[in-house]
Each structure stands twice: as structure tokens, then as C-alpha cells.
Amino acid sequence: MSDEIAEELYDYSKREPRRPTPTDPDVDQYPIPMDVRRRLYRRQQELRQFEQRAYDLFMQNLVKGTSHLSLGMEAVSAGFAEAIRPDDYTFATYRGHAHTLSKGVSPGGVMAELLGRENGILQGKGGSMHLTSVEHNMMGSYAIIGAHLCIANGTAWSAQMRGTDQVTVVFFGDGTTNIGAFHEALNFAVIWDLPIVFVCENNLYMEYTPIDYITAVEHPAADRAPAYGLDRIVVDGNDADAVYKVAADVITKAREGGGPSMVEAVTYRHGGHSRADPGKYRPPEEVEAWKDQDPIQVYHSRLLRLGLPEQDLIEIQQSVATMVDEATEFAKSGQPPSPELAMTDLWADGGSSWRN
């Protein structure tokens, strides 16, 4: 094997860049009402501005520990958020800021959690990787790959048993498709005909390794769907309208008793995997190409094209900026958790005693 080839085997930045899906030329024509599109835009702005702020706060060393941003991937979360009901259940990974906000959880409470404050939604006990709001049926963010796909089946099973028409939506990454729990969860959901939608956010990388380098098929989720008798669904994850349309279909199907679906949304993260990662294992051209197809820019242009006055877009942007400022203030005003909290809530009685 020549030296050059060998290096490509581990210096992934030297590999052929993978480029974004060209935007579907028909997407402007999708029958999506303008108020829905406004909300899709607003949601993407929220996720973007919130996470940019979170990033700034890391830089100021106010966010401790690790943190995983979805900058560049906002269209997926926004698209699904618009298609679900408040009483539907959602599950996310450690890359869960967006999905938590998309379920309507207070940005201030989320930001405070990132800062490890007592006014955080988990009282500072969970942190960035475990954002949860049972009140909003946002059933948690899970930091060990795989498990939450299995757990998500449980809320779907519950809805089925209780005879409600609640749907469960579970988000996960491309890298997650190679762990055992993925397989168990998919088979189980299908045989029990559960009202659940599995959403793979394929951002082309697991952590620092390109997904195609370690996956036997091109589309890590969609190419596995037939192994569970499911349709092969791939969507442009940088286009909120495309995501919304597919999301509405599969969620309606699940709600009406049609059983599970799996959707693979192809997208890209603008930054590194986590806080500490500069993302240097990616070909620079590739990063550029994807930044050029930024979901928010794409959407912004589309709304202008469809006749929304620029002023409206500016107002949305500004009102979101205000919200993010307020969230930041709220978070910063929080106190560090009081020491007693360390010993509470292991058990349902509120305490943590293991003895009598």
C-alpha cells in the first residue's frame, strides 16, 4: 500500500469531500402555509442564536464540562417541531439543545442548566448532555449511544396501551446506527407496531471519524430501514420545508396507527463535535460547501422569494435576539446549586438513603 493511500486511512481531511444535497427545485412550491414557514424560520433562528450564545458563554468559561452544538443542523429540529403536537414525546442525544428548545422548554432554564445553576431545568444536576422536561413531554437527552432508541419505544408503547394518539419522535446521529441498541429498537418497534418515528440526523461524522468509513452502506439509517420492513426515506436535512413535509407524513402515519417510520435527514455541523474539537479531520472544502448551504440562509432567501417582507424577517431575528439575551440574563442570575441538592432525588421519596 502506498504511503499516500495509507495516510488517507486515518487523516480524513485528505479524503474526497462530501457535498450537500442540492435543494429540491420544487420546494418553494410545497403547499406549506406562510404562517408555518414563518414559524419554521423563527424556530431556526432561535436554535441558531441560542447556540451561538452558548458558544460565547463557553468561551467566557461560564459553561463547564462539555457541550455539543447543532449549529448548521437546525432545519431538522425545526421541521419536526412544527409537525408534532405538544403532547407527543421526543427524545434526543447529548446533542440536544435544539430538540429541547423545539419542544417549547424555556430557553432561560436550558441556558441556566448549561451554566450549572440551580435555576437550570435539571437544577444543575444533569448538564448539557441530559436536558429533559417531562412537563413538555421532552423525555430526555441521553449521552451513551443507543439506549434512548430502546427507551423511546416505551413511551410509544405507553401511548398504544393507553389508546391515546400520541406519537414518539426520537432523534439520533449517523454514528448511532452501528450500535446494537439501534437494531433492537427498530425491530421491536416494528413488531409491536408502535407509534414512533426514528430520525437519524446524518451529519456525516460520528465523532472525528467519517460515517462512511465505518458503515457498511451509504445511508446509515435509510439503507437499514428495509431490514425492518420499513420504507427507505432520505431527506435534505438542510431544508426545513423538506424536513417538515416528510415529518408531517410519517407522524400522521404513526398517529393513525400506521406504525413506525425511520427518516434519515442529511445535514452537517458547522463546528466541531463538541466543545473541545476544532473539527480538523474534515476537508476544508467540504466545510465550506456545507456552510454555503446553511439552512437558515437557504430559508431566508426562500421566504424573501416567496414574498415575505425583509422587515418581517429582521423583526423575527431581533425578537429572538431579545429572547436569547433574556435567557442569558436569567441563566447568569442563577445561583450555583445548593449543596443539599447533591443528595436529593435518587429515590422517589426525594432522598438518597440506601439504609434504614
Partner: protein
Amino acid sequence: MAELTYRNAVAYGIAQEMRRDPMLVMLGEDIAGAGGVFKTTVGLVEEFGPLRVRDTPISEQAILGAAMGAAMTGIPVIAEIMFSDFLAVCFDILANEMAKSRYMTGGQMTVPVVVRTANGAGSRFGAQHSQSVENWCMMIPGLKVVAPSTPVDVVGLMAAAIRDPDPVVFFEHKSLLASKGDVPDGEIVDELGTAKILREGSDCTIAALAYMVPRALEAAERLANDGISAEVVDLRSLVPLDTKAILGSVEKTGRLYTVEENPRLCGWGAEIASIVADEGFWNLDGPVVRITTPHIPIPSADVLEDLTIPSTERVYETIKTTLN
């Protein structure tokens, strides 16, 4: 009052609770029509139907995951993991998810799951189907751990485990399944975290669990013939742990022996020994002695298997030679 086997007490206890709570459901491999590979769930699907007693694929992560997810929405679930050795294939969901979810979410999540599983040696099944793994669960903050030794305790602790809002791992001992005992009529609900003193004594305390309890009792009987008065404590529950009963007994007797099926290192006997060596130190009249399975896998041949887990003889001999 009826005489039940330990095996039948399992289904009996579950049925009591399924009648009471129409939301309570069960899932696991071969638990429905087949009545479980140990016949511990016989009759349940016939009474409660295949939607409440549901067969699954060989997907232990999917089983515990579905149980946890449903429980998070308020549905109490009993999940069967056929052999306790198989907890290893779903250990992430057990130890990292179920156990931690309430704490990590600042108290938002409640996970009323009972994980039932067949534990222990004595069936000549070899190293991968004979382990005693109560310590695998005891060591995980957020899991409650129960291991009854008699039919009536199976029924009462099963009810307590099911009604408990926290995740409970319920160990059914394979070698006790055929044992019999009286079970009173009417609803039986016991309490987690309570040990039982099965035999009073003054010279030493023997703390035992599950299959080791009858052996501890037999050893105590033999010791009595030699003029040694041993008190036998059936721990029943490891988390919560009845430290009052243990420390109280040692205060009286001055000596502690633990009898456990866990292989030696980091078994629950170590935990109890360490509690007594700290909090009960000044009551001790001599060494705290642990009687355990050696630190080896369980061999399959009958003669070898019988050598590994603590026998009545070994308990008796150890106490006899070390009590002085």
C-alpha cells in the same frame, strides 16, 4: 393459607398485583404461553391476556428500554430477564439509564420498573447461566435490590417491589424454585429494606440471602448441637439495606459471618463486613468472616459446582473453626 412452591409464588404474587392495578404490564422472552422457561409466569397470560403479558424477541436492551420508557409515563412494568447473567447484555440501560434518570433530571423522572431475573447456581448450567449477581446491581446507585428466600417472601416482596416507584431488581433463585412454604390467604404486601431474624442466637450472627438462607439455618442447627448459638439474619433486601438489624444482631453476638453466593471480590458480604467493621467495631469480639463462592466462574460438572457455592458444611466448619 395454602402451601405454594417458590416457583408458583412468583406468578401468585404478580397476579395479586395485576388484579389490583389494571395498568400493570409484563414483558419478556417466552413468558406468555410458555409460562416462562422456569414456569414462574404460568397462568398469567390466560388471566390477563397477551397485551398485558407479552412475549418479546431476544432483545434485552429493547425489553428494558421499553419497560423504562413506559414507566416514565406512569405505567408500572415488570420486565423479565431470563437469567441474571444476561443483565450484562442490557447493563447500560439498567445501570446508566434506569438507575440514574431521576437523579440526573433533578427529580423529574419516575421509573416504576421491576426487573425480575433468575439468579444463582446449583443447576449445572455452567459459567454463563449460574452466576449470582446481586452485587452487580447493589453497586449501582439508583437500583433497589431484593432476593427472597421463601414463597411468602416472594409474594410479599414482589408486591412491595411492584408498588415501589423506583426501579427494583428482583432476584429469583433457581435452586429455590421447587422449595415450598405456606402463604396466608388475602393480600400480602411486605416492605423493602427489612431483614428477618429467622433464628435467634447469642454467639455469632450469620447474614445470608436467598439460597444461602436455608444453608445458614441448617448450619446453625448443627452448631447448636455443638453448643454454639448462631443468630441467622435473612437479609431479603440489599438496597435498601437493613443495617439496623445487622448491627443490632452483631451488638448482641459480637461476631459476624456473611454467607454469599457472589464470587469473592466486591460481593455484598464485603459491604456488610465494612459497615460492621466501622460502625459495629467496638461490639466485635473477633474477626468478621466472609463465606463466599471463590473468585472463579461456576464450573458445570456437578461435583465441581457443589464445591463452589457455600455449602452447609462449609458454613458450619468455618464458624466452628474460627469462632473460638
